[in-house]
């Protein structure tokens, strides 16, 4: 975009660079191939290796409490970490195709309901961290994207998170992961749409409407090279797995203890599907709790094993992951508290409805 730099600072090295890139690319592909092969081998040897360790090396019996706890941990912890490595990498590569700038372009001029649907979908794949919620919000408003559509985007992004998807797939099955994806999207789309219908633009802080972003194009990201995308994915792995692994291990450890020591059916009485208040209670407890999905899901899985209903467990997880205190505080800078209240209320009601629905269906 910037043609001011007319000096030919970097033309000479262009060919040398291209050759270097080509070499790098081959080496990268070979390394990736080796990594993938190793991954597959380890993944398939995990169960026998874990069994061998628990029952032969540690000499624990499969029917003892300690034995079943330890077996649970030794098998699940590496399995989940392995899944995280692979899937975060894949998601990272996919995300390198989506930038917030491009998302904004795609949403500009979209009608309300369709806009909410697209915003929800893009919220899942567009990378951004919660500290960017404010500039994103204002940037979207500037382009004339309706508040409701913007909120659909901002709800979908934390609600449907790739770590949660991996864990649900790894610890339950793909059906539960899919249910989570679809219901999370449904909540983001409807909540944003409902808030848009309420016509509460006046509860946006007034300074937001005064901001005039310079209309100049932002840093134009000209198409990334293939190797850049791979590095982007690897970077995502380093950043995300590097951050969540302690939570994952802690969550699985707690889950392992529940798995071994809590009697079957204990939780059915107050987290079961016949307890009408369990869903709202789970949401109310979940909202102020702030943990990432990585820590919650192993615990939720163990709870379900002991009689907690799927809807209740799902509602708890979504409340913890989707509505976080830090993000709300950040959003408070641009939204008056009335709108924050509506925001939390609408999302919470959505989660409660989903919870009841699943308790009823399953």
């Amino acid at each position: 975009m910037n043609e001011v730099k007319t000096c030919s600072c970097d033309t000479g090295s262009a060919t040398a660079l291209a050759v270097g890139n080509y070499k790098n690319r081959t080496r990268l592909l070979v390394l990736l191939g080796i990594g993938l092969a190793l991954w597959i081998v380890i993944y398939y040897w995990l169960q026998p290796a874990a069994d061998f360790l628990t029952y032969n090396v540690f000499k624990l019996s499969a029917s003892s409490r300690l034995g079943s706890s330890v077996a649970f941990f030794i098998y699940d912890a590496p399995k989940v970490i392995l899944l995280l490595l692979l899937i975060i990498f894949a998601v990272g590569v996919i995300r390198s195709f989506f930038t917030p700038e491009r998302t904004r372009q795609m949403l500009a001029g979209k009608r309300e309901f369709m806009g909410n649907v697209i915003a929800g979908g893009l919220g899942v794949v567009t990378p951004f961290c919660s500290c960017s919620a404010v500039p994103l919000f204002i940037g979207f408003m500037e382009t004339g994207i309706p508040v409701g559509v913007t909120l659909s985007f901002l709800i979908a992004s934390p609600m449907i998170n790739e770590v949660a998807l991996v864990l649900l797939y790894g610890m339950f099955d793909w059906e539960i992961a899919l249910i989570y994806l679809v219901t999370g999207l449904a909540i983001a789309i409807t909540a944003g749409w409902v808030i848009g219908k309420l016509k509460i633009e006046k509860y946006i802080e007034s300074w937001v409407l005064d901001v005039k972003m310079s209309q100049a194009a932002t840093t134009e990201e000209s198409g990334m090279a293939f190797t850049d995308r791979i590095y982007y994915g690897l970077n995502a792995v380093r950043e995300i797995v590097g951050k969540v692994w302690p939570f994952v291990l802690a969550g699985i450890a707690v889950g392992a203890v529940i798995h071994g020591y809590v009697p079957e059916g204990l939780l059915a009485s107050f987290m079961g599907k016949d307890t009408w208040w369990s869903v709202p209670a789970a949401v109310v407890i979940g909202i102020p709790m702030y943990s990432n999905a990585a820590g919650v899901i192993p615990v939720v899985q163990a709870l379900m094993e002991k009689g907690a209903a799927l809807g209740t467990a799902l509602a708890f997880m979504m409340a913890v992951v989707g509505l976080s205190l830090p993000e709300t505080i950040i959003l408070r800078r641009v939204l008056k508290w009335q709108l924050i209240g509506v925001f939390i209320g609408v999302v919470a009601i959505g989660i409660i409805i989903i919870g009841y629905l699943f308790n009823l269906l399953m």
Binding site: N2, K5, T6, C7, C9, D10, T99, P100, E101, R104, P127, F128, C129, C131, S132, V134, P135, L136, I138, G139, W207, V211, M213, S214, Q215, A216, T218, T219, N235, E239, R333
Partner: protein
């Protein structure tokens, strides 16, 4: 060279600031590094995601924390275009 780090105090912004300062002192660049925390000022640079890295009033990067090598490359480029042009 004038370097600005745009960010409202999140962990990523701090880590970008740290990296940039390290690189500047390692390469012995003649540069002022300044952290911009004010949201309104940040928004005048028209970025959607923080942290942002601005060199001589031009946004060179936003939304992710680059590693040291990448920062080195960016700063060296900025330096050489400043020298030659």
């Amino acid at each position: 060279m004038n370097i600005k780090i745009l960010g409202t105090g999140c962990a990523k912004c701090h880590s970008l600031e740290k990296t940039v300062k390290e690189v500047v002192s390692n390469l012995k660049l003649d540069a002022q590094v300044e952290a911009v925390n004010d949201m309104k000022e940040i928004l005048t640079y028209n970025i959607l995601t923080t942290p942002g890295l601005v060199i001589n009033e031009k946004v060179v990067l936003s939304g992710h924390v680059p590693n040291k090598r990448e920062v080195e490359r960016i700063l060296m480029n900025a330096q050489s275009s400043e020298d030659k042009c």
